[in-house]
């Protein structure tokens, strides 16, 4: 069955797909492409977050143990994993958090778990993706399997995180140059940008809400260095500097990461892509969207196009970012339900047998 006409509920797209027969895709394949793409992006973003924070701590030798603990706790809290972490580790320090985020399979969002899941999804659809894409994911998996947290610590975490990022970029480049621009491509891109928008919002939220400096610190050396770290974690430092030649100002950095319409990791840019691929997947051709997901994404995009950073700060940046996260979850959830999900009541049943008497 075509991924685009899976759903029978009124909100879903109706009628047979207008695509030629050859482009019909199984919803199972769409599901795997989507999660493969999402998990690779997630692994990369966790690597970015960890790398930046580890470097950031190096910059502040004055940090004592309680500072460190507070710092890592807030990062764990922001990813929603604090409870899970405390179940398995005693104190959050650089080493235990790195292990938890990089290697611990008990954490379903660790880099290892993400890459493992991405590889499992890729393995299920090996006939659909190029051999180069598969090999890149598989190599990343084998690379992670061959390392332990101790090795990484001894050899230097910087190299380790660089390797993960490099592999993720290699995968993205290969996808770009070897995957046909078909329906599957739309699912890959949708998954990637949903994850990226989510993570950029989260990285911003960590800085703004959790590492909130005291009033006197705003604009101080520490604050500026932190914002610089945030920009670096999104590979946005150079792009920012080209845009705003002057020094790094907190609101400018936030504005850049939220509203830039040209930087490919900004929330605005990601949501514009999400809206475009969602429109194509759901076959939304009219000016007025027919589905809940497309409406939500159009509304979010309109906000990102029209609001200013001053308005957002006035309303509360944290609330704004949380709202974005909620909307993104809603959009992705509905798309999964509409096009990729096989309802739970549809488990296979045996036809009842008749006894011979």
């Amino acid at each position: 069955m075509a991924a685009t006409n899976r759903k029978q509920a009124p909100a879903g797209p109706k009628g047979p797909s207008t695509r030629p027969q050859a482009n019909l895709m199984l919803s199972r394949v769409a599901h795997s492409l989507y999660w493969m793409s999402r998990y690779i992006e997630r692994a990369e973003n966790i690597a970015r977050l960890l790398e930046v924070n580890l470097q950031f701590i190096l910059d502040f030798q004055g940090y004592d143990d309680s500072h460190l603990k507070e710092h890592w706790s807030s990062i764990l809290a922001s990813s929603g994993d604090l409870e899970l972490f405390e179940k398995h580790y005693k104190t959050p320090d650089s080493r235990s958090v790195t292990e938890f985020f990089a290697f611990d399979l008990r954490n379903p969002n660790s880099i290892m778990a993400c890459v493992y899941t991405a590889r499992e999804n890729a393995r299920m659809i090996r006939d659909q993706i190029s051999i180069e894409m598969w090999e890149t994911i598989n190599e990343l998996y084998l690379f992670l399997k061959s390392r332990s947290a101790t090795d990484v610590w001894v050899a230097g975490p910087y190299e380790f995180f660089q390797d993960i990022k490099r592999n993720s970029h290699l995968y993205q480049g290969l996808t770009d140059s070897t995957y046909s621009r078909s329906e599957g491509w739309e699912f890959i891109q949708f998954g990637k940008f949903i994850e990226r928008a989510n993570k950029t919002a989260r990285i911003l939220d960590v800085k703004y809400h959790i590492l909130l400096p005291t009033a006197s610190d705003v604009g101080g050396a520490l604050d500026t260095a932190q914002w610089q770290a945030v920009l670096r974690s999104a590979s946005a430092l150079e792009a920012y500097r080209r845009f705003y030649v002057s020094e790094i100002l907190p609101w400018k950095a936030a504005e850049f990461l939220i509203f830039s319409d040209s930087f490919p990791r900004s929330i605005h840019f990601c949501v514009a892509q999400i809206d475009e691929f969602l429109r194509r997947i759901l076959g939304e051709s009219g000016a007025r969207p027919r589905t809940e997901a497309a409406r939500a994404s159009r509304r979010l995009l309109a906000n990102l196009q029209s609001l200013t950073i001053d308005e957002v700060v006035e309303e509360g940046l944290h609330e704004f970012l949380v709202e974005i996260g909620v909307t993104l979850d809603k959009i992705s959830e509905e798309l999964v339900q509409t096009t990729m999900f096989y309802p739970a009541e549809s488990t296979q049943e045996e036809q009842q047998l008749q006894q011979q008497q």
Binding site: Q348, E350, Q355
Partner: protein, 287 residues
């Protein structure tokens, strides 16, 4: 004897069922004892049917229904002419040693081995030893002794067993329906080195007027291999050889091979399964 048959199976589902894939073994066979004059399979919701012949020579019709439906009706209507009793060849007396001369045991190895419904447990062997004591005679008499033993020591009790009951369970309870009688007979024959297979079909009641209110069902008996003769049918439920009143539809190692209707689907649980079987002498049906 010309016999008309109706076998109607109705599945009602709690909620919508879809992606339903089904196989039915409902077409009577053609052999020396019977000829299938006509056969028609009707499925509602209507869907194209295709057929193939399985490993045991049974005709299997299969079809699928992708659209959602809450009810599935499978109706098989056929007319079969059975060979009159008086023209049927008698089963000869053949000593068991005849098996050693030829390759019959190897050719029918699957009918001597374990199967899902007939695990060859020692209890079945012991039961066969009791049935065949004090001494074994010829092959066909051994089969008759085994079936007669079951007929005498088992109680025919509908609803005491289910469609999934194994021969070993029925033996423990010493009760069941024709399906269980046949499975136990198979287990006892096989434990005694006699190749035997499960036969699915219908039995026409000739005594008294057919009671429309009494539910009929498909019947089951066994066939044992007699060297130099071939497969000979015996019904342990009635303790007699299958005659012109028996219509054979399919055979296999056990019920699992001949399931009249089987399949899978997606959707809600089955709310009810109704089976309606009518077996009538054709002239009577026309009148």
């Amino acid at each position: 004897m010309l016999i008309s048959l109706l076998h109607k199976t109705t599945f009602t589902y709690a909620g919508k069922a879809q992606d339903s894939f089904n196989e039915v073994r409902l077409r009577p066979v053609d052999d020396v004892n019977q000829t299938c004059r006509s056969f028609e399979l009707k499925v509602d919701p209507a869907t194209p049917q295709r057929e193939y012949v399985d490993f045991y020579g049974n005709t299997v019709h299969y079809f699928d229904i992708a659209e959602g439906h809450t009810k599935l009706v499978i109706e098989a209507v056929s007319e079969v002419e059975t060979t009159p009793n008086k023209v049927r060849a008698a089963v000869p007396e053949v000593p068991y040693s005849a098996f050693n001369a030829g390759s019959d045991l190897e050719l029918h190895a699957e009918f001597l081995a374990d199967s899902h419904y007939v695990p060859l447990d020692v209890e079945l062997w012991r039961e066969a030893q009791d049935a065949l004591s004090p001494s074994r005679s010829d092959v066909w008499s051994d089969v008759r002794h085994i079936c007669g033993h079951i007929f005498r020591t088992f109680a025919y009790k509908p609803r005491s067993t289910g469609v999934g009951t194994l021969a070993t369970d029925a033996l423990k309870m010493r009760s069941g329906v024709c399906q269980d009688f046949a499975h136990v007979a198979l287990g006892m024959c096989r434990s005694s080195g006699l190749p035997a297979r499960y036969v699915s079909g219908y039995f026409m009641k000739t005594k008294g007027k057919p009671d429309e209110s009494e539910p009929e069902a498909s019947h089951a008996w066994i066939e044992a291999f007699v060297p130099g003769f071939g497969w000979a049918a015996y019904d342990p439920t009635h303790d007699r050889p299958a005659d012109e009143r028996y219509i054979k539809v399919a055979s296999g190692r056990d019920y699992g091979d001949i399931r009249p209707v089987s399949g899978t689907y997606r959707g809600g649980k089955t709310r009810s399964l109704a089976v309606d079987v009518r077996v009538r002498e054709a002239e009577a049906a026309r009148a």
